[in-house]
Every structure is written in C-alpha cells, then in structure tokens.
Symmetry: D2
Subunit: 105 residues, 4 copies
C-alpha cells in the first residue's frame, strides 16, 4: 500500500459515511491540529533524551504510533481535498531548502 | 519519488548539516506544531466555504502548498526518527476506524 | 481571585508536587499546545455558526469550559516561569495593534 | 489594567473594526492555535535548559514576549465571545486538580 492507495481509501471511507460535507480544508486543518496536540501531550514532560527512548514504554509507544497514524491520515485527507500532491510539494520544498541551508561540510 | 525516497533524502539532508542532534522526537513534534500553527493562520478567518476556494487567491494558494510541504516534511522526518512506518500505522488505523465507524449506507 | 492570585496558587501547586523540574518554558509550551489541540477537536466539525451555539450542547459546554481553564492555567504558569507580566505585554501589544490596524469607522 | 479592562478593550477594538463577524469561537480557536504554533517555533530546537535562558538572547526574548501577548489576547477574546470567566473556570479547575493530584509531601 502506497500513499496513493491510502489517499484513495480515505476518500472512499469519507464517501461511505457522507463525511465530505465536514471535510472542508478549514475543518481538516483543525482536526490535524487536534491530533498534533495529542502528540505534544505525549512528549511534553519528557526530556529530549527521554523522548528518544519512547519505545521503552509500551503504553507510550502504542500511543505515539496511534498519533502518527492520525496525523498522517488527516494530512493525506487534507491534501486530497486541497488537490495538493504531498510528494511533489515536499520535494519542491526540499529542493529550495537545499539552497537556503547549504551543508555545513 | 515516493515516500521512501523522500524519507531517505530528508535523512541525508539532516546528516549533511549535523542536524541529527536537534532532531529528537520531542523537538520534531514542536516543529510539526509550529508548521500546523502556520496552516491554521492561513484559514482562521475564512468560512469553511471560503476555505474550499483557497485556490482562487494565488498568494494564499502558494502559502497553503508551502505549509502542506513543511508539515509533510516534519511528519516524514519524525516518523523516520521514531522508526515508525507511516503507511503501515495509517493503514492499521483505517482498518480499526472501519470497525469503529460503520458506514451509514 | 485575580490573575496574580491564580499565578501564586499555581506556583504553590507546582512547589508542593516538586513539579518545577518539569515546568521549563519548552515543556510548558508543549503542554499549552496539547490543551489548545483539545479545544480544536471540540470545534473541528462545527460550522462557525454552530460554534456560536456551543452552549446548547451541555456536554460540549462543559468540555469547552474545561479546555479554556486548562489553556489559561498553562498560559499563566508559562508566563510566571518566564517572568513575563501577561497584562503588561498584552496591553503593549494592543497599543501597537491600534496603530497597525486603524479603525474602519 | 486588569483582566476585565483588557477584555473590554479588546471588545471595543473588535467593535471599531467590524471584526465581530470573524470572531466566532471556531475562528478564534484557530487564531489561538496559530499563535501557539509560533511560540512552539521559538523553542523547538532549544534544550529545556536552553529554554530556561531565553532572556539571554534579546531577539528571542522580544519574540517570546510578543507571542505570550498574542496568545493572551486571543484567549481573553475567545473567553469573552464564549461568555466564559477565565478566572472562575481556572480556579474551579485548580480546585479539582488539588484533589486529582495530592501533594507529594
């Protein structure tokens, strides 16, 4: 399953539930914000070093995977509704970043 | 260029700039939050209907594409640092959502 | 009880629990983000008009009040840790905004 | 100037600019999210220890004050539109938290 398959599956998921009416760009940005907020909550009291060892705590690990999934789902859904190709815009941005931030070595 | 290629390119980008020290899960979650905040700012005063017509405003359209790119970049980078396969966890979550939210028709 | 009283009470609350070690600016910003994310989740699928009528739904109303409280608590705590006077910086910002955005009438 | 004065001044500010139409709860939550995102961006690459020394960098210090002001402004404005008394709900929440988290000593 690649990104396109996921995008298609999420579109059909929304179709089957009549959720297109809710999936405006504005609403999906808020939904994305909500999920990113949940990910913040998982890491807020950890030091950066502790955050590197998130997998040592099985409950935290399950929650982190779950939030990464939710964020990915809303980002893919948002990009589909916007008609934006995630891979294309991300690649173009990295190309620009290569010029903005020359390698240090 | 697929998701794996992007992930690899972002890893090399961080390598070449000695940025791995900054790319802890905790820090990348904050960076992701910052970019999602910028996307919020683009849509905050629009009605949901106006948000559907974001492409009519060329400046807004460029900014939206740029933010989607930044969010994708930090999400892909975060997932790489975490060792989480975005497509796999997203697929598993959709499978669970299919059971949690039966189709209305 | 005014803002200063709340600030003092939150400081004593953290003292009594040995939480000062967790209450760095960085961590409190993440905690604030988490709570704002929860508030997003409450309003994400509502139209702006429906969001105006949040009090009609008692469960939503209780959740909204709870999130406003949590956001206020982390903002007051963060400002205390930063040594920033919320009322002073907000007043100064409104003064600047008066000049940036002249009244339309 | 206390919290009530700020609230009143922000209400008049919105009145004078015909901004009430934009200041729905939903929109103000997004505006708040945008400002919290900016605060995240200021602290994202700092260690918690470095975040404690934010005042040593004058440019960062000015930006942090500015973001705290913006977040306070949108929170006060949101609470006013919602008809929620920030001090009252925060006090009630701290009362509940005293019971949920008994002091460690």
């Amino acid at each position: 399953m690649n990104l396109d398959d996921l995008r298609q599956r999420l579109r059909e998921f929304a179709d089957a539930r009549d959720w297109h009416q809710y999936h405006t760009p504005k609403n999906l940005v808020m939904a994305l914000s909500g999920e990113v907020g949940e990910l913040n909550a998982l890491f807020q009291w950890l030091t950066p070093e502790e955050s590197d060892e998130w997998q040592d705590n099985p409950e935290l690990a399950a929650d982190v995977r779950d939030e990464v999934a939710d964020i990915a789902i809303y980002l893919i859904r948002l990009a589909d509704v916007l008609g934006v190709d995630i891979l294309e815009v991300a690649k173009a941005k990295i190309d620009r970043n290569e010029l903005r931030f020359p390698p240090s070595r």
